[in-house]
Symmetry: C2
């Protein structure tokens, strides 16, 4: 049989599992650094250590590879926000959300860059996800934050822009890594920068959202 993968309905082989894994790993490397249009199948094939037709045996088109990658990564990417707990203490929740996002920036920078590239270039492949599942999740969590503000647990603030601020500050360390290292210089480009960032951001957001006595 030479039916392409998408047409096969039955169980997947061991080889299929392994090779698809291998390909997506290589594709993540390439798509994350060059964006969809800037990436070539040959390049992914080379990174994956297989021939181009072989790669196309598992994913029929470049778009199919990208799609599969997005689908697999998006869920994990949103996990930290899902864990955001309405019942917890606001300060603790925000603090640990920041921490989790920073850990992801440190441990999965390619995944972050994959989305950054995609969104930067107008999100042509994930617009539906943005306006659907992502928006819903954010709406839900924004409501939680709003209720915290209303009941006087944190300062009044726009919950959406708070979430944007946490996203941008944390993902900055993955997406703009080259710039961060360039500015900090060789001597401060060890993993310690993530600790420094965590300290700074926790201070900024926690005391920035505290209710002040004489505040307006």
């Amino acid at each position: 049989m030479v039916l392409p993968r998408a047409a096969r309905t039955q169980r997947r082989t061991r080889i299929q599992e392994e090779k698809e894994e291998l390909i997506l790993e290589a594709a993540l490397d390439v798509f994350a650094t060059h964006g969809f249009r800037g990436s070539t199948i040959d390049q992914i094939a080379e990174v994956a250590g297989m021939s181009k037709p072989n790669l196309l045996y598992y994913f029929r088109t470049k778009e199919a590879m990208h799609r599969a990658l997005i689908d697999r990564v998006l869920d994990n990417w949103l996990d930290p926000l899902r864990e955001f707990d309405a019942e917890g203490s606001p300060v603790t929740e925000i603090r640990s959300y920041i921490r989790r996002k920073l850990e992801m920036a440190r441990d999965f920078p390619r995944e972050s860059r994959l989305f950054a590239n995609e969104i930067l270039q107008g999100a042509p492949h994930i617009e539906d996800e943005l306006k659907g599942p992502l928006k819903s999740l954010v709406d839900e969590k924004a409501e939680v934050i709003r209720s915290w503000a209303k009941s006087g647990k944190i300062a009044k603030c726009d919950p959406y822009h708070l979430i944007f601020a946490i996203w941008s500050t944390t993902q900055h360390y993955a997406d703009f890594d080259v710039q961060v290292r360039g500015v900090l210089g060789e001597e401060h480009s060890g993993e310690g920068r993530f600790e420094d960032a965590a300290r700074f951001l926790e201070q900024l957001f926690v005391s920035g959202l505290e209710i002040r006595n004489g505040g307006a």
Copy 2:
């Protein structure tokens, strides 16, 4: 004479000025949305409304166009940070730095995306600028912030990460515009979102950097 522009040492004609302007404008459009590798000369030529060879008469290669664009935009991009004044009041300076950066995100989103694409993809064309002029400027301003913290005018914090936080939160509204609009929904995607963002970010940074009475 058919000598390419780079070899011409003398005065530039009116046509040259106009056409180079036109080309760079089109190139900004294209490079900002697709990144260097994802952009094609044909595409830029089409946006500029001229033929490809005509375009290549003014800029001999795709890289030359990109280079010229980066050089022209980088300076303006750093202006807000340069205006950051050591003699001013910390709160005022930080507040107006945020405001200026947000205005640039609103008024010059393509310029922001041009750099975002470049840095995301490893800054292959501007690494020198990052480690040279940019680093120097940031070092200088970081020293100012450090002195403010030392003399008790603002809370103690890592000045580099403060600058990163201001960059990321403000540029987010240019670079991730599609996501911001997707999440906010049609009804909140007017220009008002920049006002909301300004209000939120000023509150966050100003009260986040205030000296607290009972603070650690």
